[in-house]
Assembly symmetry: C2
Homo-oligomer: 596 residues x 2
Amino acid sequence: MSYIAPIKDMLFAIEHLAQLEQIAQIPGFEDAGLDTAQAVLEECAKFNQNVVAPLNWESDKNPSSWQDGAVTTSPGFKEAYRQFTEAGWQGLQHPTDFGGQGLPKVIGAACAEMAHSASMSFALCPMLTDGAIEALLTAGSDDLKAIYLEKLVSGEWTGTMNLTEPQAGSDLAAVRSRAQPQDDGSYKVFGTKIFITYGDHDLAENIVHLVLARVQGAPEGVKGISLFVVPKFLVNADGSLGARNDVECVSIEHKLGIKASPTAVLQFGDHGGATGYLVGEENRGLEYMFIMMNSARYAVGVQGIAVSERAYQKAVQYAKDRVQSRPVDGSIKASAAIIQHPDVRRMLMTMRATTEGCRALAIVAAAAYDAAHHHVDPAVRQQNTAIYEFLVPLVKGYSTESSIEVTSLGVQVHGGMGYIEETGAAQYFRDARILTIYEGTSAIQANDLVGRKTVRDGGQTAQNIATQIAQTEVDLQDSGTPAALAVAYNLQLARQAFTDAVEFIVAQAKSQPNAVYAGSVPYMMLAGNLVAGWQLARSLLVAQEQLAHGQDQAFMSAKIATAQFYAEHILVKTGSLRDSIVRGAGSVTALELDAF
Amino acid sequence: MSYIAPIKDMLFAIEHLAQLEQIAQIPGFEDAGLDTAQAVLEECAKFNQNVVAPLNWESDKNPSSWQDGAVTTSPGFKEAYRQFTEAGWQGLQHPTDFGGQGLPKVIGAACAEMAHSASMSFALCPMLTDGAIEALLTAGSDDLKAIYLEKLVSGEWTGTMNLTEPQAGSDLAAVRSRAQPQDDGSYKVFGTKIFITYGDHDLAENIVHLVLARVQGAPEGVKGISLFVVPKFLVNADGSLGARNDVECVSIEHKLGIKASPTAVLQFGDHGGATGYLVGEENRGLEYMFIMMNSARYAVGVQGIAVSERAYQKAVQYAKDRVQSRPVDGSIKASAAIIQHPDVRRMLMTMRATTEGCRALAIVAAAAYDAAHHHVDPAVRQQNTAIYEFLVPLVKGYSTESSIEVTSLGVQVHGGMGYIEETGAAQYFRDARILTIYEGTSAIQANDLVGRKTVRDGGQTAQNIATQIAQTEVDLQDSGTPAALAVAYNLQLARQAFTDAVEFIVAQAKSQPNAVYAGSVPYMMLAGNLVAGWQLARSLLVAQEQLAHGQDQAFMSAKIATAQFYAEHILVKTGSLRDSIVRGAGSVTALELDAF
């Protein structure tokens, strides 16, 4: 089998780090206990392992194609999507009111990881639908909800996000698409949108485009952007499909990776205007779009973990199979599997520890989301909202930046075979490369982390996290095992690096914005690295406890070894990041523009 | 123009860091002064900018193809190669006795960088020919030299290296190709070789394969491997081409990058045996192959610099052209070119500083090569041999690992456009990914650095380098400028990290080989980073001196800013590498094999 879902590691994080039993006490989540989590994850693993994963490499060789305005997806996608919707996977996290299963994000996140491990290209379609659902749930009128939500939650129709235009990428203030109000309350939408994931395809009978555009006379900049629903096919009063709307897929891109996922250029309104329906109020579109985007950003972080996991599994398999050279310690007197060689082990451990650390980070963030949205106590909701919002740019930024390194190591473990496309390791490397770019580049995540998440509250949330980490250090020291002490040592240094960076950023943000933003991505990497390492430190403590009770010796021992490796080889990088942020800001912008 | 050779930076390094005037005092190099260097570099730039660079992207779209045993190269390659040979570029560094120009490597390295910036895929062909020439010069009989060298030096024929077999990659002891002695002194060669760069092509009328094989009855392992010349076409006594030899190109690979460079599977001896000629003595093949390989390893390091430079130039261009968002410091009240944004600047500076640092490292290593091979004083030769051999794994390992990061940043600067193949940024990222693999993976370079270059002389060469670096620190402190002091501070910490690692490695190599080799690649990265940073520190001192004399203000100021950026953002990474090597060795191999 080309992919085996790491259910055990996921459940470990869900149970012990995210503390699912606490989430299951929240009204509405009563049935979402550990048994449910396990059952759902096992079903999800079966589907993704057996149905989706086998399509991944073939679909890279036979990418989606465009002809006469219509996209044909890769062989096998249509049938897999049919099975996906029939099993109800699209509705996993969505409200039961609209036919969903209403499970917490902490379970949904694990399922999403499996889906993206199986095939990023395939799983992007439901991922975008999730975003559309969230936007309509939050801001859509009852009418819009009634017409679209059930169809989206079932997966019968799919959703897209239409933000980018040729001149408006990271800068949405530059959006030029426009909308004219019509007498019947609808709008005519005009404009060109690019980089639209699954902007056209043949998996579902309708596509619900969520489109940013300016209503005539709206203010300049981001405060004049509205959000519209523009369906590919208009919907009749009885819910059946009507006429084809005036939106056309004029081409798809030839990309480095995720080739099976069609990335479309959409033309709205070339034949009189595309019929659109306002979501929420005029000029509040960006606010609503951020709902979709936050959901999507988190999901992209999960994609990073997913592709890392798959690259890791492939590399391990190769390293166990490939025989080459004698071990350097003379322990075997003949050529051995390359996993016996220390540097191969270092690469595999780096892949493994990074992936497990990012997974733990993401699952803990998901738990904060669940509490932030559903806890009965407003104070708990507020607290968790702050934590979740701080963690989203880390999940997105750190997991995806790391996934480039992890998938690159995956190629490296394969040696020359890694460079041959048929091997498959290169696909993960190519696929991963989009992740630091779409749904906000790493710089955009880092700006968000610096501005909205760190400076705005004067570093309070950051400091709260540091305080919790300090408590984990105490627990590690109390435990006193060599592994715990080694982790405590590195965790303490990393936390200090983090608080140094936070202090610098908070103190200088107003007076020296260039200096602060010069270190924004290093700060994001520092924070992500720290919080992932912290979760593995917590894992070590849990594993020691479990071992003391005789639980699952092999798994728990591995958890401890992985946590220690992370601390000694990955967490150690935080010190130099702090030094660059705090001492090196000036040299980032010192070179004259003419000298480039 | 898609590529402009950085002649000024190259000449700066050649003149001030490699001290060309000293090399020009070596007999045979009298004419290789600064004027010659400049003239050669300018001609070389013209050729590569105008003739080769425009082919790079087109040839990626139209890669070399295979049909019926023959490879057809990409459109334009044949004509470009004809111009390449007619201008005599193949013979640049080779002896005048065989029609070459006999220039020092320090000039040749700069020219090679231009060639690989223009097109890695194209320049690989002459690069492999260089290796074949070096092997024949060192170990070939007078007969072999007479038959092959002039044709290779002129580029009329090309060369290949045939090492790898399916079961023998990094481990050449596993080579199974065999050779049977014939009555006329020739051999019949049999076997399958894979990953043979330019193993077949249509650029030249003959291909000179250098092939590792075992003579019947040879010892097991690396001590039973011999080196053979196996020409594609046999050569008649009068030098004209005779019959087709029994070597067939049975396929070429479908690769992640360098797609225009054919990577062949060669089948030797399926029809009675390929006629081969022994190079040097039987069973000493690996020793000779290392001559080719050391030349090739250095050259691959230069490829890393080359592709980084080209990626940097493309990213700078895009960052100057692309307008998006207002500067965070409010200095411009409208959307600005993205080069105005601090994080874009950070990425470009990382690309620039890394590239300049690695270039300086490579050119200084080339000067050591020239002195090692040609200086009149045996003591100077010996000293430079030790330095050169220490530096080769750094040039290869550090420059190529860095090139993956640099080309990845190149994609990132382009945002979504970077992921679209037509943009071209992704090609550099794909091309670069081979560099840490072929001609010895990074682990192989690191093993060489640890075993043969560090442990064998008890850390003496490493210590000599550290002593020289300490002197540069003193010079920086004496200079006393803020930039010099900032660099001195970081250089001192990095040197300390290096000597800590060296001490650990030398002390533990015998008793704890797993622990030492677990840190081999981090050690290589530490050493490469340090020596590159050291060269930029020397550059800063030179630039300050030049500025004091009113020389070239813009260039020298940029050199200072770049050196400081390197120290504060790249050299700072050495501390965590030391910590991983010295304190983290145990956790690399702690996880049980079954747990993977």
